[in-house]
Symmetry: C2
Subunit: 570 residues, 2 copies
Amino acid sequence: MDNMPLCEANNVPLTPITFLKRASVCYPNRTSIIYGQTRFTWPQTYDRCCRLAASLLSLNIAKNDVVSVLAPNIPAMYELHFAVPMAGAVLNPINTRLDANFIASILRHAQPKILFVDRNFEPLAQEIFHLLPNEDTQLNMNVIFIDETDFSKRNLSKESDYESLILRGEPTSSLVTRMFRIQNEQDPISLNYTSGTTADPKGVVVSHRGAYLSSLSAIMGWEMGTFPVYLWTLPMFHCNGWTLTWSVAARGGTNVCIRHVTAPEIYKNIELHGVTHMCCVPTVFSILLHGNPIDLSKRSRPVQVLTGGSSPPATLVKKIQQLGFQVMHVYGLTEATGAVLFCEWQEEWNRLPEKQHMELKARQGVGILGLAEVDVKNTNTHESVPCDGKTMGEIVMKGSSIMKGYLKNPKATFEAFKHGWLNTGDIGVIHPDGHIEIKDRSKDIIISGGENINSVGVENVLYKHQKVLEAAVVAMPHPVWGETPCAFVVIEKGDNNQRVREEKLTIGERDLIEYCRENLPHFMCPRKVMFLEELPKNSNGKILKPKLRDIAKGLLVVDDYTVKPIKLIA
Amino acid sequence: MDNMPLCEANNVPLTPITFLKRASVCYPNRTSIIYGQTRFTWPQTYDRCCRLAASLLSLNIAKNDVVSVLAPNIPAMYELHFAVPMAGAVLNPINTRLDANFIASILRHAQPKILFVDRNFEPLAQEIFHLLPNEDTQLNMNVIFIDETDFSKRNLSKESDYESLILRGEPTSSLVTRMFRIQNEQDPISLNYTSGTTADPKGVVVSHRGAYLSSLSAIMGWEMGTFPVYLWTLPMFHCNGWTLTWSVAARGGTNVCIRHVTAPEIYKNIELHGVTHMCCVPTVFSILLHGNPIDLSKRSRPVQVLTGGSSPPATLVKKIQQLGFQVMHVYGLTEATGAVLFCEWQEEWNRLPEKQHMELKARQGVGILGLAEVDVKNTNTHESVPCDGKTMGEIVMKGSSIMKGYLKNPKATFEAFKHGWLNTGDIGVIHPDGHIEIKDRSKDIIISGGENINSVGVENVLYKHQKVLEAAVVAMPHPVWGETPCAFVVIEKGDNNQRVREEKLTIGERDLIEYCRENLPHFMCPRKVMFLEELPKNSNGKILKPKLRDIAKGLLVVDDYTVKPIKLIA
């Protein structure tokens, strides 16, 4: 039994890039991408990716080189998800909502050989380059712009733009064979930065094997059949669009790309192209409900919506479903290569009152098939908690779709994998029906509009202000963004320094918010600052954040309530 | 990038046995198995499998030991699909339609440490043991009978029967941890014999990795959602029930087990348990249509039927769909660990006339997601054929769900994997829409009632008859079994031997059929023998089988036409 050598026929490394080749063979007549007036079929997308990969190779891109991208959900962003790994390189999609400072720190850390930049982000790119004067990072980095292309009047004067790379690529058949035959399925395919601080960017390295398993898990968890028409509301830079970039190819689906995630764009594209599937954070539900909602409930089937990032509020889910959307809640994290818990609907739930449906939908669900195990463990004893829906523990998991680790950060990697599990830091329970529900996030994360904000990072900025003695940042509810940071601040008393005492009076909420906006991406800034005489602490001096959260829960954001959520994500 | 060591958290070998543990955690309240009055939940099935595996280990079953089973689709057969690999051993499910001679040759080849025998097959087992007198095979083999158990009056007097193994098993938690942590995903999980001859049994070795990928591919190819109610019409001994044994656990489904595959049993179980899915060979359609068909078309949804083994005749598909079944055609082979092509329905086909639907459904379809590649290649040049629906070539494939090889048969393994692909021997075309259709089987295979019959094996038996000079066996159509063997025979002329000439006259069709029945499993025997003066041959002396097939196509089986297809498979 043991003496059966593996060979080329029965041992092929697992990688999601095979889905592209398969789609071009199995679905030759189907539309792969729709973007405005642009249409591609799967063989065309295959051809374009092969050409692009060939061009990358001719630019001396080698195995494990990083290729970064700063772009919204345009066709190029989709193509790069295949072409970059086909060239043996590692895709690094950067969150376009970050500010220049943050992105510069990511580039410094990732050291990409190429940075693709959507032309609309040129000003941001220039700002970034000013932060990297004469640094190796910039000197070694080839910048390639992606222009909007009207394929009917193709005019390629620029020598180094995206389309000319595709035009110039020469994918010989032996080169293509090599592109699809990766050496090792444990090789990295993507590098995805999570929220951190500029001093400590954490780059999650995802393997081909992990991406393959996660893409298929998403198909099964969502029960996504063949030929979905998938609307790209979720940014592809978020964990490769929760790996749906690859799943849609696996299903021979159509990617409907949109540059701006606004209610009119979403409704228009759903109606124009018969969208069947989309992913988004719950914040997008608010956008859809506030932006001249169109009743889609008369369509032959609802739009399947996968939502995650934070628990969808029951009232939002109810309202959005009445419009013709069918919501499924998932829980995921970049470290686990996308969604790992799916709230699978159980038929007997149909017999329960509707109010309960929404509560059940808000639970995180059961583990995907690509993982070996998901569990909730007592944080002290590391024993599994009973499935009683009450006993809390940390959500942990193991399996081959978990990240390889954090790039150049063995310490954080070691911490993440302590006890032989990926420790999520999220606290939850297991219900008697097997579904996991998150009760608290032990990491100091605030989720605003689907973006994770590391509250410690915001606190660090506040602490740097000369008049701030102590700061604690927690989530406060926000009607549009779900959560938003709220800062509790103790001002430097300076009893022995009359000057400081006098100036103290001049600091107000606006000042600190303005200060944060100068030093942080906009979405990370507190929308509310409360000044306290002292922060509540336990006997060991640890700040009692739960107490602050209770206060924050009672606050109301007035000035933002009427903000029109236009261009939310792009 | 390369310096990221894998660890227990992010590198877990892929195996379908994790589906069982997951089902017990994620689907604790759901029914896993229904069999007559017997009901199990997933935690119960999990517990029973852990106990059984613990007992196997206590019987000194070690890694890579073979455990054979001779049983129909009863709960024990399902449980063994998990318990045997959980003990590190290799499951060998034996086709119960084979005769004692054939099974003895399989046992001699596989050298199992344990043979599980359903009590109803005790006479067959005794016959087998008589063929292995004092051989090592028998001496080293522990025989354990599986009795029908009435769990309400559990009475376990027999010390070595199946239920007492489960009762006695002591799965400590460290033992269970070890059971689910397999060492290497390339380790064998199953050993499945294909049709061959008694002299040359070919045992396909399937890996954990292959079984995992195939099980998930089946879920995706069939679009099988959560909680299927799966009726076991397809024997689990056929390629592990086309890997659905494991898929149903992955989906938290219910296995409806039946001992006898008859029309009344099928209809009864569909109605009683709300069956949603079943697999079968096209022959079962005939059984369902002839056996007092019940109109199921009024149910809220049709029964999803996966059919394969041979192309389903269009008229059969049409009739069975009118009864409330929804048919999907697949193509597979044991060497590829189950179904590898799925005839995925394309929405635009709905606009075509119904007659064409059936023709489209009869095509074999597109490759599964678990395979890296499926192609049709010119048998001489090994170039891919154009996708024109006309140019023929051999269907080949590669990927990690392909078998490890044939046990103790490196020569056949080498042949199967020549040119770096699994060579199926089946000749087909690729249509412009990407679907593959089989046009001819280059191997001499006759498919009767879903069983593959190697015509060369039948010919070899005929050649051993002293009066047979030449023999060629081809398929002839059969109204129930699809195909059945038809033999063309040239009798020894014996010009120089008056005795033979005289005796020649006494040989008839019946004699040769009777002779075959004494030397072959019943279903392999020719139902028709034609005597020719000489066999048609080409200039090289090669028998022109296509010519014989043309003759056979015009024949009609009269004596079997009214046979009641009862107990077809079990």
